[in-house]
């Protein structure tokens, strides 16, 4: 098992490197791996005095395509992919439910409502360089999680099943509001629908700069509780008997995962399937230990979303497809195939 885990981790890292090269290299102008390596690896190293300067000058156009367009986009895709996968793994573990995904407690619906409100109301102001849509989306997501948490709370405790049900109910309610607003969206309809399909088209360095700290904070929150998550898989009461302060763990994980989701959704809309399928894929190969599952899911989620986004912007170029369509279109059949061929995916079956 140990060897298997190491090999799998190496495969994931290679996949990530490959998708990075593909993501930065492909597009209307193809860029070779030497140029990419020179720009993103050698130049920064040279600047730090750790490597000799580049042998040949890189054309300014190439430089600007890589540095201004593709690199931020690839980095944003990896941050979002990793965030969604880790949030999905955390929710699946917390709820001990294979159907849980990053959007299960309604954060995405809240974010969608925020985004659609911003578009329909047509308010335009900006805060710290952000437009109204990501700001409203983020706010909507965070508000939703507080609402759901407090609705599910009984005294000092929050039973996970109640939390799950409250999440589903709130999610349904907010989705209805989104539909209502969409119905009256008028000229904005196209924009609203497109946003909800999810896409990384608006990637800028600013978004990367904001997304990365959020992702980092969320990851640290969740990774710190990996051992507790393992104990929680044994059932909440057992986890308590083992010394886990379960209420505290639930709160931290809920907040951490929700921050990841709200940040992801506000920068790139609702990208489905990554958060559901990636943790299952990792568990299938390497088992349920969260100390491995969480970092491996992060890396694999990043690799897969870069690949999906690259496909989304090249498959019918110059037109760009929403990446959410690709993730579901390619991911779902693959997932179903795995479900049919590997019975171990069903080990969630004996829930109390």
């Amino acid at each position: 098992m140990h060897r298997r885990k190491t090999i799998f981790l190496m495969i994931i890292i290679m996949a990530l490197a490959l998708s990075f090269l593909l993501g930065v290299g492909s597009g209307a102008v193809a860029i070779g791996w030497r140029d990419i390596a020179a720009l993103v690896l050698l130049e920064p190293l040279a600047r730090l005095g750790l490597a000799p300067g580049p042998e040949a000058e890189i054309p300014a156009v190439t430089r600007s395509i890589v540095m201004q367009l593709r690199l931020p986009r690839v980095l944003l895709a990896s941050a979002v992919g990793a965030s969604l996968a880790v949030a999905g793994a955390a929710f699946q573990g917390l709820f001990r439910n294979p159907m849980a995904d990053p959007f299960v407690v309604g954060v995405s619906s809240g974010a969608a409502l925020g985004a659609v409100m911003a578009m329909v109301l047509g308010q335009t102001f900006s805060l710290l360089g952000f437009g109204t849509v990501p700001l409203f989306a983020f706010g909507g997501g965070v508000l939703t999680i507080f609402l759901v948490y407090n609705m599910a709370r009984i005294g000092k405790t929050v039973p996970v099943m109640t939390l799950l049900l409250a999440g589903i109910a709130v999610s349904a309610f907010l989705s209805a509001l989104v539909s209502l607003l969409t119905y009256f969206a008028g000229d904005e309809l196209h924009r609203v629908v497109f946003w909800m399909m999810g896409g990384l088209g608006g990637a800028t360095w600013l978004r990367v700069q904001v997304m990365v700290p959020y992702a980092a904070a969320g990851f640290i929150c969740i990774f710190m509780f990996a051992r507790e998550l393992n104990a929680m898989l044994m059932g909440e009461e057992t986890a308590r008997h083992l010394g886990v302060n379960t209420e505290w763990v639930k709160r931290v994980l809920l907040v951490g995962a929700s921050l990841l989701v709200a940040a992801s959704v506000s920068t790139s809309g609702i990208i489905g399937f990554v958060g559901l399928a990636v943790p299952h894929l990792v568990r299938l190969v390497a088992g349920p230990d969260h100390r491995y599952l969480l970092p491996a899911s992060a890396l694999l989620g990043a690799a897969l979303l870069i690949a999906a986004d690259t496909l989304a912007r090249t498959v019918i170029a110059p037109t760009e497809l929403p990446v959410g369509i690709i993730t579901a279109l390619v991911g779902a059949p693959l997932f179903i195939y795995l479900l049919r061929t590997h019975k171990r995916l069903r080990y969630f079956s004996n829930l109390e």
Binding site: A231, L233, E237, V244, N350
Partner: protein, 429 residues
Amino acid sequence: MRINLKVQELTLQYPAYTVLDGVEFSIEKGEMVALLGANGAGKSTLLRALTRSLAPARGAVLLDDCDLRKLTQKEISRTMAVVPQNTGVDFDFTVEDVVLMGRFPYLGRFQKESRTDREIAREAMEMTGVADLAARSAATLSGGERQRVIIARALCQQPELLLLDEPTANLDISYQSTLLELAVTLNRQKGITVIAAIHDLNLATQFFDRFLLLAQGRLLAAGSAEEVITPENIQLSYGVQAVVFRHPLHGRLQVSVPSRRENGPRAPGPGSAAAAECTLPAVHVIGGGAESIQALDALREAGARLSVGPVTAQDSSFQYARFFHLPVVEIMPFSPISEAAQHEHLALLQQADLVVVPPIAFGPGNLVNLESVLQAARQGKKVIVMEPESAPDRDYTGGKAQAAVQELLAAGAEGVPDTAGLIQRLTKK
């Protein structure tokens, strides 16, 4: 001796329903305590209160004189380990992973399990006999294996106190004793205090020293088996009439609850006030061993008023008679029948409408009973002899008993081949 666990006036309420009502007891280090009580008596609730899974409305649980509420979850887990009733593991963690989870209360946030932790886990697995399974997926284990894995995890917590919730509920009889023997070993070798909620009273008396009996949320009795496990207490807590006797092999108390049918209304015994109005025949059965019990039970089910003839207090038919409050003639073991007992026996024979001689063995000690029946038969009493043709095989008097049986038949007694024949004969009347 240091007090390990003390429960003070514990009261626990669900909305509009009191589950525990002023329960108070203390358990000292190294004790082996069984928590008894009917379904719904509050056993599980008490266990959950002891582990702080449920908060009491009033009262407190003190662990080494410190209120449980003042301790952190990790502090509690270092002293107290729990083996829950449902030990299901749905995820395919290896057995070793599951056992190592028991080290959680000792590990810092970023600390990895050390070599010592792994050794502790290894030792725990060896103690519970699951070391060979270390690399197996815990999701693929049998119920008995899983239970031992979970106990190994509990041992990994290095607890002073081990709580077991219905540890034998889902196990076959071999695993049941293996498991409780393991609990006794842990108690003796490691000085771990064991508290187990347990349904099976007979297993409890076999392996535990102290008993707490709950009924309707109150502590009904506490103490040794002899103090707690009495027919009266069992009637109060479980609502059934039970026989308490000593096990022939280990001498511990055992409890047996006859089926509902046997606990039902009894036919009144002969000579009682009700007997006068009763139309069922009064039947006297010559006692002695299992054969007479079979006849007695069939007759009682058919509705006959019964009495049982001379038996020693050690005889199973004597205990049968006592349980159902049947008139019985008692004789001293290894002695000839006394004059008084003989008199009593003749009186019962006199009162009966019918006398039954079951297929019991006859020796010099009870030949006299057969002679008494013969005398009654000659005076015109109805007598039924069961399995008369097998009488020679049961005769230890050198032919005297067999001769008496032949005389009985000659005097008008009827022979029946078996219990069914007996009942048929009785109902035809």
